[in-house]
């Protein structure tokens, strides 16, 4: 959808019906933030931190996240 300008425009309009303009800007900003950190994580081969792994308590397996290639960077996930 990201390359479909009409679809993107429709989704923006939908979001702006549900959210305030300030909230809409925050959504756009968080989309930017995690397109940075996801790429850094996957191109440097870092493992999920022990603290976060402990907090997630089986959730990665339950959600199928261990099927992602980058799960191989965290010991015990693949």
């Amino acid at each position: 959808m990201a390359n479909d300008q009409a679809a993107m425009q429709h989704e923006r309009a939908q979001l702006l019906r549900l959210l305030s303009p300030q909230q809409f800007v925050d959504v756009c900003a968080v989309i930017g933030a995690f397109n940075v950190v996801d790429r850094i994580a996957d191109s440097t081969g870092i493992a999920l931190d022990d603290m976060m792994l402990a907090m997630s308590a089986g959730l990665p397996q339950e959600l199928g996240l261990t099927n992602f290639n980058s799960a191989a960077n965290t010991p015990g996930m693949r």
Partner: protein
């Protein structure tokens, strides 16, 4: 020359700290880095955008495995072929990178700190571009490069570990690089990932502060902007799932 960005087409008021972060990131990208000149960094950024129209990248994205599709990237030229491969893969298909792929890049002659800096330039620009696109804006024009030579400063505290790239441990961040972790007792690997090139960690903080949350607020689950923290994390999780990012 100051960097002037136009947000009027967004149709909403874009907060000043976010606009300032975009200007700072573009200014950082055009400046001489640690291993690449300003002109090379702008070339890396331009190639990252060019990757979106690359036939080889599109064919690889459509394939069950990117390794099953060979060919040449559609490139702007001017950068080494291995660097072009890094830029295109990180921009268009980051979820299927592997240790073997990384080892191949390094074996082809790219130094690890050069690689880390390329990752920083590509990813920081990608964040600005995704934010702009979500806002309904065309990509901001890349500014002209600033003159100067890369510093070639290699922090001795960066040490090999389980990640593909050496990183500075929290307890080893000292001297000129003592600031990169803000004295925090816990620094997640995502921040340490770029620490072989400390200036890129500083740039990542600037990006993260404005796009996500200021560093001091990240551990606080009640920290919020106009969105509350749960809403922010929902967007973050959706983006990461689309990117197939386990981290």
């Amino acid at each position: 020359m100051p960097i002037d960005l136009d947000y009027s087409a967004a149709g909403v008021a874009v907060r000043a700290d976010l606009q300032d972060a975009h200007r700072r990131i573009l200014d950082h990208i055009r400046s001489p880095g640690t291993w690449w000149s300003g002109a090379e960094r702008i070339a890396i950024a331009a190639e990252a955008r060019h990757a979106l129209d690359c036939s080889l990248c599109k064919n690889r994205q459509a394939a069950l495995s990117p390794n099953s599709v060979s060919g040449q990237h559609d490139s702007l030229g001017g950068l080494d072929g291995t660097i072009v491969e890094v830029i295109h893969r990180v921009r268009t298909d980051p979820g299927r990178l592997s240790r073997a792929w990384f080892d191949g890049v390094i074996a082809a002659g790219v130094s690890v700190p050069q690689y880390v800096e390329v990752i920083a330039v590509v990813t920081l620009l990608t964040g600005v571009d995704f934010c702009a696109r979500a806002l309904g804006l065309a990509p901001f024009a890349l500014p002209p490069a600033l003159p100067g030579e890369p510093s070639h400063d290699l922090p001795p505290a960066a040490k090999p570990g389980p990640a593909w790239v050496p990183m500075i441990a929290v307890e080893d961040a000292a001297g000129a690089d003592a600031d990169i972790y803000f004295g925090l007792p816990f620094v997640p690997n995502i921040v340490r990932a770029l620490s072989q090139v400390p200036d890129e960690v500083r740039a990542l903080w600037q990006s993260s502060d404005a796009h996500y949350l200021p560093v001091a607020q990240i551990p606080d689950p009640t920290a919020r902007r106009a969105l509350d923290r749960m809403q922010m994390e929902l967007v973050a999780a959706r983006v990461s799932a689309l990117n197939q990012c386990f981290y």
